[in-house]
Amino acid sequence: MNHLITLTMAIYLGGAFLISLLWRENETVAGAAAISFVALSAITSVLLGIEVFTNGSILYFAGGWERPLGIALMLDPLSALFLIMTNVIALLVTIYSAVYMKKYTWTPYFYVLFLIMLAGMNGILISMDIFNIYVFLEVASVASFMLVAFGLRAEELEAAIKYTVMSFIATTMILFAIALIYGFTGTLNIARFMDASAGLTPVHLWFLAGLLLAGFALKAALVPFHSWLPDAHSMAPAPVSAVLSGMFVKVAGLYVIIRVTANIFTNLPQIRILLLLFGALSMVFGGLMAYGQKNIKRLYVYSTISQIGYCAVGLGIGGYLGSLGVLMHFVAQAFSKALLFLNIGAVEYVRGTVESDDLKGLNDTMPVTTLFGSTGMLGIAGVPPMGNFWSKLIIIIAAVKAGYTGIAVLCIVVAVITLGYFLKLQRTVYCNLTESPVKKEAPKTLLVPMGILAFMVFVSGVLLVPGIREHTLDKAVAVMENFSYVDITIGDNR
């Protein structure tokens, strides 16, 4: 069972190499192969997740070398949650892209790049070695640059170069931090570094934390570092946007920031204040920018920035409620963001535009798509039965309890702003009657993944129900709260 931990990543890599070797010319076979590889990996990750949530974390050493020689890989409840989410969303998105990508040329290469991006994300999630995280971050990022520029239009290329340069700055900062970590403590393993960091001076800690946090905040697009995200995510093909906005910023940014704040720099509580500040800025800025957008994809992207801000705020507040809020918000957010991007992709597939001025009366022409789109929007806006409502509520309660009343008020205000811009969008785009409604629905292959995601958005709140919560989210929160994994990573030898 433990061997499966590397398999999710290896399946993606093997799939990508095989597609580029055998089915470079054949779009249909490449698509089918990609779907089956992703499905295989999704099944594996669900199995792994069940194992982790029932029997506890898995520790694995690449090459069979015991520490400190081998690279430590680790799947604890926190990373298992992210892993399952990544691969399930990836499966739905891949099915969707089998039809959506038909208008692009060279789609086999799209699958190659897409699978490698997923492999990189899986690699980040299972790794406990900071240099390994850097390598797989680069794998995922480099693949995502290409995917952003895949359509080869002028704007897409422009977005790609901005994204590349900003991303390179981020990864260089991370690399410098890794060099300094290695130079001072002689280790690359996160858990061992946490042990060694007790002997470091505050100057050193601040320097490392600053570099790492700046790097990963660039990846997560928290507000002072957000400039690349609106271009890159709005210009990518819809399936890529769905994965980038739904999962990639959360895996490459949020997940690693959780690791950095909660598991590495535990004796530097001031980091949390910094995160609170960045989070509040992102929330407000993203919300306000989204209000004025005419391009619907851009609106969704600014909403991503705003919602990442919620996660950062929850992380900044900390404590049981804050951490629970972060994870719940992440789950609900990932499903609804992926749904929204797939939805707007379907609209673009049928109507050929994403400008809100050119789209009218979608409610009449594309009723099913509209239904799913509304579900996603209401989900993000935080209307009661959906998961986002509960997560926002938890974050607000946590803020009040921790004494950050101002932040709590800000969270409520931004929630209202979010509802506001989605209602505005609803009014102009979906409910505005056209003179002669002609029904032209998106193909079924596009609708089915959206339907599943819409269902997920509805039921994601179920994770909070007592009885289910104890077995899923609470275990992940425990990893963020007290570092139980240290016992198995450090304890047994050396």
Partner: protein, 158 residues
């Protein structure tokens, strides 16, 4: 770069030097676990040899020695081979386990899977960088009245 390549002196020197570069690259790859070198070093040196050919004779000549489809296949095969070495490690109990006998130190056939990995990485690096350089140096921009027109010189399919 240019259609006909460089002058005759450069071309004949390139022709003489190329086999030695290839030989040196291969020896670096094979002896990577004993002496300085290894898959990456050998791979980039082999790429240097091909770069010399591309510069001296143009991309078409280089493509005759290593056709682009073969290079693409080699790229994937190298990557797959390295992944296969990693996955075959499961027979010994772990991902990337060195499952072959380690042999004697300072002998060529020693240290288990390292030599296979070296060959695979070398293949991968040379094929990948060759494709990158060839494709980039084949790219042409032709000036038209409203901007530029992109074209690959010597039009080949994929």
């Amino acid at each position: 770069m240019k259609k006909k390549g460089m002058s005759e002196i450069v071309q004949s020197v390139a022709k003489m030097v190329f086999p030695f570069i290839v030989l040196y690259g291969i020896s670096l790859i094979l002896y990577g676990h004993i002496t300085p070198g290894g898959g990456f070093a050998g791979g980039v040196i082999l790429t240097g040899g091909f770069v010399l050919l591309v510069l001296a004779f143009g991309t078409d000549y280089a493509f005759r020695i290593l056709p682009v489809n073969v290079a693409k296949a080699l790229d994937s095969i190298g990557a797959l081979g390295f992944l296969a070495v990693a996955l075959l490690g499961f027979t010994g109990g772990a991902f990337f386990y060195n499952f072959l006998p380690k042999g004697h130190i300072f002998h060529l056939w020693s240290s288990g899977t390292i030599i296979i990995s070296n060959i695979m990485i070398g293949l991968k690096v040379v094929a990948a960088l060759f494709i990158a350089i060839a494709v980039i140096s084949k790219a042409r921009l032709i000036r038209t009245k409203d901007g530029f027109q992109y074209k690959q010189s010597g039009e080949r399919k994929r």
